[in-house]
Symmetry: C2
């Protein structure tokens, strides 16, 4: 019944006998709790806290995967029974979803971490767009006529600011060549129910909330072209994922996440602005 | 005619034969251009660019000191003639101004800097509130009946989040003891022309502008109690200062400054929120 997720674009994968997440046919995503560090415990603690937190507005809660508790399952690495987080499988209703995994924040390390962890993150942050842009793309797949474009991890890791701009254009285009047409940009990013408006809602919440610091979290952006063409909703949405490093905010806003989110918002809005610019040019 | 600024709370000072800024009696602040590194050149480049940049809105320009060009002056370290930036002396109209110098951003280093510079900044950022709060207080003086409270640099460097909260309350109080009365908070931080509203205007600009990255810049907050009590305006204002590390934004917003600014805004708004809370309690 359980299988390896087909549309995972980043993170540890349950292949070659390794430990990784599994999915079922009922829309559940099973994420193994690791016992070698605090990450699993911290993610479970977060889901417990968040799901019972009455101060989370409804319009913000929808940006998070639904949490269904934990379950003992045979782990994908055949190490036997292991507790798994049972989460909503965000991709389950979609046949060929285009997906971007964007890790938000200009810093992925944190003060309480070990020196080795800090140095590793510090190096990765400097050599990706994390420091320069305040976020980095960790993985992606974009569906087009010829199938999925899914660049390898090394390629993604070396993305520049211009590569990021290009990916955000290709994500909403019918083609993934050097001149993406951005034909879906207005429908996916724009409009009163588009990605941009919802990112702005999330931003407003982050300007105020001091409950959690979302260190090393990602925004998972999903766009299903087929759903869009068939008039099926939602054809585009995003969820926050990966809460293994979330901690108490202690009365301080998550300025690291917020700064990166604002930068990402600017990149998305730039795609729409360029679109308007080019439409203006066509008319002149 | 020239003298050492009386109300400087941070940065290099023109005392004991050292190189530092000077002021005159006509409201000018003379900042020496240093020849031992690129800082002076970069700050001059910024002021030239900014003062001639027609894309800076008027309501944003007022948050920056007026730039009057450069002038050759006898340096304070008696090394002879040296070019100085001629800037607006923000404190000139005030007899006993309370001042906070707040360095904005969770990171003061930058990718192009030398490894030594990065390591120094990285260490300072971790051991002050820069990483945790997204800003740090670099210096302050608060005027009260018994004169100025001006804690030493070591004390300021060791400020915790709670110390910062306390300073922001003392800044708008008639007393600087353990229980500041916050009697000026509504007038200084609140209202449609108060510090908070203006910080929010600055924030809105930072969400959009991709021209400059204000690395290692400070917000200088000034409050003149005597002006306030005499009904003289402006009795409270802020300016951005220290542009020796400003560079081209290259089409990316300054997410580092923006994140820190949002965190600082939350701290200021918390003083007002606590005030409302305590007024409510008084009424109950």
């Amino acid at each position: 019944m359980l299988k390896v997720p087909e549309h995972q674009v980043a993170g540890r994968q349950a292949i070659d006998g390794k430990l990784g997440p599994l999915i079922d046919n009922s829309g559940h995503f099973y994420k193994p709790l690791q016992d070698d560090d605090e990450r699993g415990t911290r993610e479970l603690t977060f889901y417990h806290s968040f799901s019972s937190n009455t101060r989370i507005p409804h319009h913000i809660r929808r940006f998070f995967p639904v949490f269904h508790g934990t379950q003992l399952l045979k782990a994908s690495d055949r190490s036997g029974l292991r507790p798994h987080l049972v989460l909503q499988d965000i991709t389950s209703d979609h046949l060929n979803p285009s997906i971007l995994d964007i890790k938000i924040g200009s810093r992925t390390w944190y003060l309480e971490a070990s020196n080795d962890y800090i140095q590793n993150c510090f190096h990765r942050d400097k050599t990706t767009t994390t420091v320069s842009l305040g976020f980095r793309i960790c993985g992606l797949q974009i569906y087009n006529e010829s199938g999925f474009w899914k660049p390898g991890r090394k390629l993604v890791r070396n993305f520049t600011a211009d590569d990021v701009r290009s990916v955000l254009r290709k994500f909403v285009s019918s083609n993934v060549g050097p001149e993406p047409d951005c034909c879906f940009a207005g429908s996916v990013y724009g409009g009163c129910d588009g990605i941009l408006e919802r990112l702005l809602e999330l931003k407003t919440w982050f300007e105020d909330q001091t409950m959690y610091h979302f260190r090393s979290c990602s925004v998972l952006l999903l766009f299903d072209k087929e759903s869009f063409l068939r008039g099926k909703t939602p054809f585009a949405e995003f969820k926050l994922i990966d809460f293994a490093h979330v901690v108490d905010g202690n009365g301080v806003i998550d300025h690291n996440f917020l700064g990166g989110l604002c930068s990402f918002i600017k990149f998305v809005s730039q795609v729409l602005a360029d679109l308007k610019g080019s439409t203006m040019e066509d008319k002149i």
